[in-house]
Amino acid sequence: MTPGTPVLEARALSKRYGRRQALTDCDLTVPRGRVVGLVGPNGAGKSTLLQLACGLIAPTSGSIRVLGARPAADAAHLAKVGFVAQDTPVYAGLTVGEHLRMGARLNPAWDAALAERRIERIGLDPVQKAGRLSGGQRAQLALTVAAAKRPELLIFDEPAAALDPLARRGFLENLMEFVADLGASAVLSSHLLADVERVCDYLIVLSGARVQVAGTVQELLAGHYRFSGGSGSGSGTGGGIDSGGSLPPGVQVIAAERTRGGSTLVVRVDDPRPPVGWSVEPVDLEELVLAYMTRAGLPAARSASTVPGVPR
């Protein structure tokens, strides 16, 4: 495989459960070597996207390729992708040590030294039954099993959702060490932006079953600004580019808020020079993500087309 092959490539990817559309027309290209944060509210389709990526479920339509092949295509491809599912399932009846043995038996590239070192560092007792572990310990064990197979891509589905803040921090630190150790790419979903902000350098905002925006954190921050002012011309709907009559072309309004002095817009623009009558400020990641989620929540925007990735 060439180094240029994206870790994840989705084309018009859709998944429907009965009558519920879990993922709609998703187009994504995630380059290698990134730690990708997948954020969105609960029920946005994050789990669906990640389960499609590791081949647990099959798409209803469209296609998804992971590391250049169909997910879970064969044993060799399975070996290249490590997955930690939501609620970090482990075999309650097996001990910690037996989980490592399972990993060793089922994965040709198993790194026993790495696994044992990690288990020791976390402070897990190899003879303890996995069913008796705390949530944090269980998550660490699941992470160790996924990482010690030395995958090229690690996928985490809300791995830290059930953990208390301390355990979460420990888990995320461990996760980052693994990613650095393995030189792997990683995709991590969360509904907690703070987690993602701490560890990710690439962001996908998923909301209302659609990809709202995707790109490196740097590019996203460089491409989005807060415009304030525009007294009397800003529209409160935030529906689209025509909401501010005085805005020049090339400026896309993501979210708009009417304030006392006029309007505050979160806009996407290549050139941060504001039009006359507006002042410009940088946005932080949280504001940006919230703007996209808010837009996805608006009825008018549900049918709006997906925003293509910012130019790279």
Binding site: Q51, C54, G55, L56, I57, A58, A72, D74, A75, A76, L78, A79, V81, G82, F83, A85, D87, P89, V90, Y91, A92, G93, L94, E98, R101, M102, G103, R105, L106, N107, P108, A109, A142, V145, A146, K149
Partner: protein, 330 residues
């Protein structure tokens, strides 16, 4: 994969092994007891005569135990399918551990193959060992009774139980994959296995080869084997000395081939309150019945046909679960 499957299956296998050892020991002891009784009965009948009476007392002595063990052997495959087959995959789905194991470097097909292989072969071995021991233990008894082709004995001897065990296990797994919940799958597996065990001996097994027609004169000895005598000449349970399996029996017919069920003669005979007098009355009337039978010499062909039939059904079920787990399952 074999290690993991065995590790998950270990406890159940140990329980089953203990049960098989227990039942097996009992079967060996029973077999020795049956043999020693059989020897002494034969010796007695050589020296004193009255062989039929002695042999009848010999079979009635062990009747209860042997038939109960036969029923146990009928149930064993169903129980294994229910407790081993049905939870095999549904438990993983219910606990979410399939999301752990399906992301190791082993395809789902291989995972299923290992699980099915180990659990399926274990249940076949358990049923096979018990069947072998019962067949051995009861062989003097079956020889005297000469009705090993009858449905309840046929299904609890020789190789047929191995086919049932494979089928029941595959049935449990397949139902588990379709229903995806352990308890309903277990219940459904037991119900369907029971239905199959009723349908096959009644509707399918009699027709595995075309039955042969014959006619049997009802002398007092034939009449005494009947376990059902209807008001209008219908009979049931007729045993023929050749050991043929009687598939169907006509009502009692007279020499002209007419049904005697509605004649005054028949009504007069069965009005006797004393059974021996009634049978004597009927035996004097020169009656016969037309039978269709599966001849005793077909016994082993039928054992193989039946086992093959269940092996085929097993293969279809395995294919179905393979397709299901590869394509459709989340």
């Amino acid at each position: 994969m074999i290690w993991l499957t065995w590790r998950q299956f270990r406890t159940q296998a140990q329980v089953a092994l203990a049960a098989v050892l227990l039942l097996g020991t009992y079967l060996v002891l029973l077999g020795l007891q049956i043999r020693s009784r059989h020897h002494s009965v034969l010796a007695q009948c050589r020296s004193h005569g009255n062989c039929p009476g002695l042999l009848a007392s010999f079979t009635s002595e062990f009747q209860l135990q042997v038939s109960l063990l036969g029923y146990v052997l009928l149930i064993v495959p169903g129980v294994l399918g229910m407790f081993w087959g049905a939870p095999l995959i549904t438990r993983e789905l219910e606990l979410g551990t399939h999301r752990l194991v399906w992301n190791q470097s082993v395809t789902r097909g291989r995972w299923l193959a290992a699980k099915l292989g180990i659990v399926g072969l274990s249940s076949m071995a358990a049923a096979g060992v018990l069947s072998l021991l019962l067949t051995w233990a009861a062989s003097p008894f079956d020889q005297v009774e000469a009705d090993r082709f009858s449905p309840s004995l046929f299904a609890a001897r020789n190789i047929a139980p191995v086919g049932y065990a494979a089928f029941a296990c595959a049935l449990g797994v397949t139902l588990g994959l379709l229903v995806r919940r352990t308890l309903p799958a277990m219940a459904l597996a037991m119900v369907l296995f029971t239905v199959v065990q009723i349908v096959v001996p009644n509707l399918i097994r009699p027709n595995l080869a075309a039955p042969v027609g014959s006619s049997v004169r009802l002398t007092s000895s034939e009449l005494s084997t009947l376990n059902f005598l209807g008001q209008y000449g219908t009979v049931g349970g007729l045993k023929v000395p050749s050991g043929d399996w009687v598939v169907s029996t006509s009502p009692m017919l007279n020499a002209a081939g007419a049904n005697v069920g509605h004649t005054a003669m028949y009504a007069g005979c069965i009005d006797n309150s004393v059974q021996s007098a009634m049978l004597a009355c009927l035996s004097r009337a020169n009656l016969h019945v037309d039978l269709t039978v599966q001849p005793a010499r077909r016994y082993w062909s039928f054992q193989w046909y039946e086992t093959g039939l269940f092996a085929l059904a097993t293969a279809v079920l395995v294919g179905l679960s393979y397709w299901r787990i590869r394509g459709r399952l989340a």
